[in-house]
C-alpha cells in the first residue's frame, strides 16, 4: 500500500510537471463526467427513483375501453362500483377527477389544480402525510369536508404554516378542513396541489346528472388507480377484468356490451412517454463522455511515448513491468479523481441548466436533484474512466519500456501505440457519427413536425379556460353564459371572432359518443354503431380558430333550441364515416336524429403529430358542459385581445376567478416542446462529440507529424514534393475519418430502431440526413488535419542533416 502511496506522490509530481496536459485532461473529464452525472440525475429522478408510494409495482391504472375502436376512457360511477365490488384481482380501487378550484384561507383565492378523490385514495397508494393525516376509508365518510394539501401548495399558499392543519380553508367558496400536508416528494398526479374528499362514494360528475349518480353507466369521467391483490400480476389482473367486462356486458347490454378494461402499471403511465427519450439522451451524453475519455487515453498514450526514456531508466534500475504499469495507472486514476470532483461541480451547473430546459411535460421533475446517488455515480464513473482509459497506456508502456528505448534514443518506430491511438480515434469518429446521425434525424423529424399544417391559424388567437361553478350555473345558465360572452366579445372592435369549445384545442381532453348512421360506412353492417368524438361549440368557434368551412354553414341561433337538429362534421368524418361526396343533409343518430349542416376542414386536435380524427360538433346548447375554452381571434395584438377578454369576463361574471389566458401559439408549441428539447439536446451533444472527435483527430495527426519530422525531412531530401507530404498527412487523417464514419454509419443504422419511435414521418436511416452527415464529418476531418498537414509541408528538409 505504501508502494501505491509512493506512486501517487510520484504521479502527482509527474503530472504537476505537465500542467498544460493536466489542465486539458481534467477539464475534459470534468465536462464529460459533469454532463453525464447531470443527465444521470434526470434519468434517476424520473425513471429509476422508486415512486413515492408503498409497493408501487402493485399499483395499476384502470380504464374502461370503448366498444368498437377500443379507445381507453374514464370509468362511470356504476362501472367503478361494480369493479370495486367484483374484481377479485384488485385489492382496492380509488377513483378521482381532476378539478381546478379557487383555494383560499384568509387572503385572495388562488386557482389551483387538485383532485377530488374517493376516501380510500391514500389507502390504495399507501401514502402517509408529513404533517397531520391523510383521509382513509376506515375513518372518514364521503361528504366529510376534508382536504389534504401538497407540500408545494402548503409552502406557497399557506406560508408553510403547520398550524393550518385542522383549520378550515375555502375551495370554490366551500369550507374544507385541512387534514394534513403531504411530504415533499409525494406527487399524484404531477400537477395536483390538493386532494379533497368526494361528497359521495364517487367523485362529483363534471356535468349535471339527473337521477342517482351511483347508477350512472353511460358517462365515464372517473380516473381509477387500483392496488392489485397480493401475488397478482398485471396480466392476471387484465385477464380477470376481461372476464368482469364480459359479465357486465351481459348484465347491461345497452351500456356495456363490447366494452372492456385496460390495465397499466402506474409507473408506465407516469414515465412511459418519456422513457425512450431520456434513455436516448443518456446514451448520447454517455457517448460524449466516452469520446472525452478516449481523448484522454490518447493523450496519455502520447505522453507515455514521450516518457519512454524515463520509464526505460526505471526498468533498468529494476522496476518490474507491473510496477511501471501501476505507476501510470495511479496517475490516470488521480487525473480521473480530480476530473470527477470538478465534474460534480459541473454537474450541479448542468442540472440547473437542464431544469430550465426540461419541458414541463416530463413527469417527476421535482424528483430531480444532485443527491448522494448522483455523486456516487460520478465517483464510480471517474474510477472506471481512470482504470479503463489508463490501462491501455499503462499496459503498452510497461510492456515496451525496455532497454531498446535507451539504445536508440527512443527513435524506433512506435507503431503499436500509434495503431492503438488510431483505433481510439476511429472509435471517436464513429461515436460522433452516431450522435450526429441521431441529431440529424431528430432535427429532420422536428422540422417536419414544425411544417405540419395544423389545419387552423394559431397566430393572433388567445384562449382561456372557463369553469363555471355548477352550484350557481345550471345547464341553461351555462349555455347562456357562453352565448353572451362570445357575443359581447364579437362586438368588441379589437376582436375578429370569438367562440367557445369543448374539448379545448391542444389540451388532452375529449368527449365521445356512440352513434348510428343513416347509411353505414361502406362494408359495415347496417346496424353498426360508431364511437366518435364530439365537440361542443358556439357559432363563432371556426372563425376564431381559422378552420375553413368546406361545405354548408356554421351554426346559427336557430340551431340552438332543443328541437333543432343541426350538426357539423369534419372532413375525416365526412370521408371515412359518411363515404365522402355531398354529405350535407345526412342523418346521424344519437339521442335522436341530427342533420349535417356543414363540413369543416380537418384540424389537429391535441398534438401536432396526431392526424385529425373524425369529430362531430354540436351547438353548445345541445352538449352543455360547465367548462369550456374561450377562443378569441383579435387583430390588435394579443395584449389587446387579452384586455378585451378580461373586460368581457369582468362584465359577465364580476365575482368569478378564471385561469390565466394562453395564446394558441403557445399551446401548439407546448405539444412540440419535448421533441424540441430532445433534438436540441442531442444536437448539442453531437456538436460537442464532433468537436472532441476533431480534437482527437487533430491531436493524433499533429502528434504523428511531430514524431515523423525527421522522416518527412528525409523524404523531402530524397525528392518528395512538399505538396505530396501534405497530401500524405491529409490522407492519413481522412482515412481514419472515413473508417470511423463507415463504422459510425453502420452503428447508426443498427441504432436507428431505437430512435424510430421518437420520429415523426422521418426514417431513422434517412439517406439525405446520412449524406449530409458524411459530408460534414469529412469536412471536419479535413479541417482537423489541415493544420498538421500544412506543418508537414513546411518541415525544413535540412533537419535530415542534423545529428540527434
Amino acid at each position: 500500500m505504501t508502494g501505491v502511496l509512493d506512486d501517487l506522490r510520484h504521479g502527482v509530481r509527474a503530472l504537476a510537471r505537465a500542467p498544460g496536459f493536466c489542465a486539458l485532461a481534467i477539464a475534459t473529464l470534468a465536462l464529460g463526467i459533469g454532463a453525464t452525472s447531470a443527465m444521470f440525475s434526470v434519468v434517476y429522478g424520473v425513471l429509476l427513483r422508486p415512486l413515492p408510494f408503498t409497493a408501487p409495482e402493485s399499483l395499476v391504472r384502470v380504464w374502461h375501453t370503448a366498444a368498437g375502436n377500443g379507445q381507453r376512457g374514464a370509468l362511470s360511477p356504476a362501472v367503478y362500483l361494480d369493479m370495486q365490488r367484483e374484481a377479485r384481482s384488485l385489492q382496492a380501487a380509488a377513483g378521482y377527477t381532476s378539478v381546478r378550484a379557487a383555494v383560499s384561507a384568509d387572503g385572495d383565492p388562488v386557482r389551483l389544480i387538485g383532485l377530488e378523490v374517493t376516501a380510500n385514495f391514500f389507502d390504495v397508494l399507501g401514502a402517509q402525510a408529513a404533517i397531520g393525516r391523510v383521509f382513509s376509508a376506515a375513518s372518514d365518510r364521503p361528504g366529510d369536508a376534508l382536504v389534504v394539501l401538497a407540500d408545494g401548495a402548503w409552502r406557497q399558499q399557506f406560508g408553510a404554516d403547520a398550524s393550518i392543519v385542522g383549520r378550515t380553508i375555502r375551495i370554490d367558496g366551500q369550507a374544507y378542513q385541512v387534514a394534513g400536508i403531504m411530504p415533499r416528494d409525494f406527487a399524484y398526479s404531477e400537477t395536483a396541489r390538493f386532494w379533497r374528499l368526494a361528497p359521495q362514494v364517487v367523485p362529483t360528475s363534471p356535468m349535471q346528472v339527473e337521477g342517482d349518480l351511483l347508477t350512472l353507466r353511460g358517462l365515464g369521467y372517473m380516473d381509477v388507480v387500483a392496488r392489485m391483490a397480493p401475488g397478482i400480476t398485471t396480466s392476471q389482473a387484465a385477464a380477470d377484468l376481461r372476464v368482469l367486462a364480459a359479465t357486465l356486458g351481459a348484465r347491461h347490454p345497452d351500456d356495456d356490451a363490447g366494452r372492456g378494461f385496460e390495465v397499466e402499471p402506474v409507473y408506465s403511465t407516469i414515465v412511459g412517454n418519456v422513457r425512450q427519450s431520456l434513455l436516448v439522451l443518456f446514451g448520447a451524453v454517455g457517448a460524449v463522455l466516452l469520446i472525452a475519455c478516449t481523448n484522454i487515453a490518447s493523450l496519455l498514450l502520447a505522453r507515455a511515448v514521450g516518457r519512454r526514456r524515463e520509464l526505460a531508466v526505471r526498468r533498468a534500475l529494476g522496476a518490474g513491468p507491473w510496477r511501471i504499469g501501476r505507476q501510470l495507472l495511479v496517475e490516470s486514476v488521480a487525473l480521473a479523481a480530480a476530473g470527477g470532483a470538478l465534474g460534480v461541480v459541473v454537474a450541479s451547473w448542468a442540472l440547473d441548466a437542464l431544469r430550465t430546459l426540461l419541458p414541463a411535460s416530463i413527469p417527476r421533475l421535482g424528483a430531480i436533484q444532485l443527491d448522494a446517488t448522483a455523486v456516487a455515480f460520478a465517483a464510480g464513473v471517474s474510477l472506471f474512466v481512470g482504470l479503463a482509459f489508463g490501462t491501455a497506456p499503462a499496459w503498452t508502456s510497461a510492456a515496451s519500456a525496455s532497454f531498446e528505448a535507451l539504445r536508440d534514443g527512443g527513435r524506433t518506430s512506435t507503431g503499436g501505440r500509434q495503431r492503438l491511438r488510431r483505433g481510439l480515434v476511429v472509435g471517436q469518429v464513429a461515436l460522433a457519427a452516431v450522435l450526429l446521425a441521431a441529431a440529424g434525424v431528430l432535427g429532420a423529424s422536428l422540422a417536419r413536425l414544425q411544417q405540419v399544417d395544423v389545419g387552423f391559424r394559431p397566430e393572433g388567437v388567445v384562449t382561456q379556460q372557463i369553469a363555471l361553478p355548477q352550484s350557481r350555473f345550471d345547464r341553461a345558465a351555462q349555455a347562456r353564459f357562453y352565448q353572451s360572452i362570445t357575443e359581447r366579445l364579437a362586438a368588441d372592435p379589437r376582436v375578429v371572432a370569438a367562440g367557445t369549445v369543448f374539448p379545448a384545442p391542444f389540451v388532452s381532453s375529449q368527449a365521445s359518443a356512440t352513434i348510428r348512421l343513416d347509411r353505414p360506412a361502406p362494408g359495415d353492417p347496417p346496424d353498426r354503431e360508431y364511437t366518435v368524438r364530439l365537440g361542443s361549440i358556439t357559432p363563432g368557434f371556426f372563425a376564431a380558430m381559422g378552420i375553413p368551412m368546406l361545405a354548408g354553414r356554421s351554426f346559427v341561433p336557430t340551431d340552438f333550441p332543443d328541437t333543432a337538429q343541426a350538426i357539423i362534421v369534419n372532413q375525416a368524418f365526412a370521408t371515412r364515416l359518411l363515404g365522402g361526396g355531398d354529405v350535407i343533409g345526412r342523418t346521424l343518430n344519437f339521442d335522436g336524429p341530427y342533420q349535417v349542416v356543414g363540413v369543416v376542414a380537418d384540424a389537429r386536435a391535441a398534438r401536432v403529430d396526431q392526424a385529425a380524427e373524425p369529430i362531430a360538433y354540436l351547438p353548445h346548447t345541445h352538449l352543455t358542459l360547465p367548462f369550456v375554452r374561450l377562443v378569441v381571434r383579435g387583430h390588435a395584438g394579443d395584449a389587446a385581445t387579452r384586455e378585451a377578454m378580461a373586460a368581457a369576463l369582468r362584465a359577465e361574471a364580476p365575482d368569478l376567478a378564471f385561469d390565466a389566458p394562453e395564446t394558441l401559439t403557445a399551446l401548439v408549441a407546448g405539444s412540440t416542446a419535448e421533441p424540441r428539447f430532445r433534438s436540441g439536446l442531442v444536437a448539442g451533444f453531437a456538436a460537442v462529440a464532433l468537436g472532441l472527435a476533431a480534437l482527437g483527430l487533430y491531436g493524433l495527426v499533429s502528434y504523428s507529424v511531430m514524431g515523423r519530422t525527421r522522416e518527412i525531412a528525409t523524404r523531402l531530401a530524397l525528392g518528395a514534393t512538399p505538396a505530396s507530404m501534405r497530401a500524405g498527412v491529409l490522407r492519413e487523417g481522412l482515412t481514419l475519418t472515413v473508417v470511423g464514419l463507415l463504422v459510425g454509419l453502420g452503428a447508426a443504422l443498427a441504432f436507428g430502431r431505437v430512435l424510430q419511435s421518437l420520429l415523426y414521418e422521418t426514417a431513422a436511416s434517412d439517406p439525405r440526413v446520412l449524406g449530409v452527415l458524411a459530408l460534414v464529418m469529412l469536412a471536419v476531418g479535413a479541417l482537423a488535419c489541415y493544420l498538421p498537414a500544412r506543418r508537414a509541408m513546411h518541415i525544413d528538409p535540412v533537419i535530415a542533416l542534423r545529428a540527434d
Binding site: G719, P797, V798
Partner: protein
C-alpha cells in the same frame, strides 16, 4: 563562363545568413567553388564553420541568401519548391550522419523510395533496388526493418538508397559520425569503391583520416574556403 557551366557544380559568391532573434549569423560568406564530374571532394573545418550549411545548399535543401549556383548547367539557386524536389530527386543522393532510414519501411522499401518519387515503373525499380543492395552487400537483408540492423548495416542501406537513382552527385554529411571506427572504415571503403566506379562524391568530415580518402580536400573557416588541395594523382 562557358568553362564553368561545364562543371557539374559551379558556385559563385554563395552567401548564407541566418536570422535568429535579430542576431545575424553569417554561416557562409562568399563561396566560390567548382566540382567536376567524377571528383571525390572532402570538406572539412572546425565545428560551426558552415560545412553542413554548404552541403544543404549544394543538395538544394536550402537556398543561399546571395550568389549563384549552377548544377549540371542549370541555374538552381532560386528554383521554386516543387522544382527543387525534382532536381534533388534526380541529381542528388544523400547520405546522412544518422542514416535516416524510415522505421516503418523495410530495407527494400527504403531504397525504393526515391525511385517512387521519380515515378519509375515497378520493374525498373526492382532492378535498380536489387542492384544497389547488391552493391552495398545488403541484398540478403532486403526484407528486414531498419531496427533489425546494426548501425553499419543501416548506413550501407542508406548508401544504397543514395545511389539507387544514379544521381549526378552523392552528398554525405559526416557519414561515419554515428559509427565505430570499424564500421566507419567499411562505409568509407564503400564510398571509395563507388568513386572508382565513376561516382561524384562530396563528403563533409572533420576526421583527417577520412578526408585523406578523397582526392580533393576543401577547408572551410568562418564561412570561407581557406584551402583547396587537389591530391596529386599518380
Amino acid at each position: 563562363m562557358s568553362e564553368s557551366t561545364q562543371s557539374l557544380i559551379h558556385l559563385d559568391g554563395i552567401k548564407k545568413v541566418f536570422l535568429t532573434d535579430e542576431v545575424e549569423t553569417h554561416a557562409l560568406s562568399g563561396i566560390h567553388m567548382d566540382i567536376q564530374r567524377g571528383e571525390y571532394v572532402a570538406i572539412s573545418g572546425p565545428s560551426g564553420c558552415g560545412k553542413s550549411t554548404l552541403l544543404a545548399i549544394l543538395g538544394l535543401l536550402d537556398s543561399p541568401s546571395d550568389g549563384k549556383y549552377w548544377l549540371n548547367g542549370q541555374e538552381v539557386a532560386d528554383l521554386p519548391m516543387s522544382q527543387r524536389a525534382r532536381v534533388r530527386n534526380r541529381e542528388i543522393g544523400f547520405i546522412f550522419q544518422s542514416f535516416n532510414l524510415i522505421g516503418d519501411l523495410t530495407v527494400y522499401e527504403n531504397v525504393e523510395l526515391p525511385l517512387i518519387y521519380r515515378g519509375m515503373k515497378t520493374n525498373e525499380r526492382r532492378e535498380r533496388v536489387n542492384a544497389a543492395l547488391e552493391r552495398v552487400g545488403m541484398a540478403h537483408r532486403a526484407k528486414h526493418l531498419p531496427s533489425q540492423l546494426s548501425g553499419g548495416q543501416q548506413q550501407r542501406v542508406a548508401v544504397a538508397r543514395a545511389v539507387a537513382g544514379q544521381p549526378s552527385i552523392l552528398l554525405a554529411d559526416e557519414p561515419t559520425g554515428n559509427l565505430d571506427s570499424k564500421n566507419g572504415e567499411a562505409v568509407m571503403d564503400l564510398l571509395r569503391e563507388l568513386h572508382r566506379g565513376g561516382a561524384t562524391i562530396c563528403m563533409v568530415t572533420h576526421d583527417p583520416r577520412y578526408a585523406a580518402h578523397a582526392d580533393r580536400s576543401i577547408h572551410l573557416f568562418d564561412g570561407r574556403v581557406v584551402e583547396d588541395n587537389v591530391a596529386s594523382l599518380a
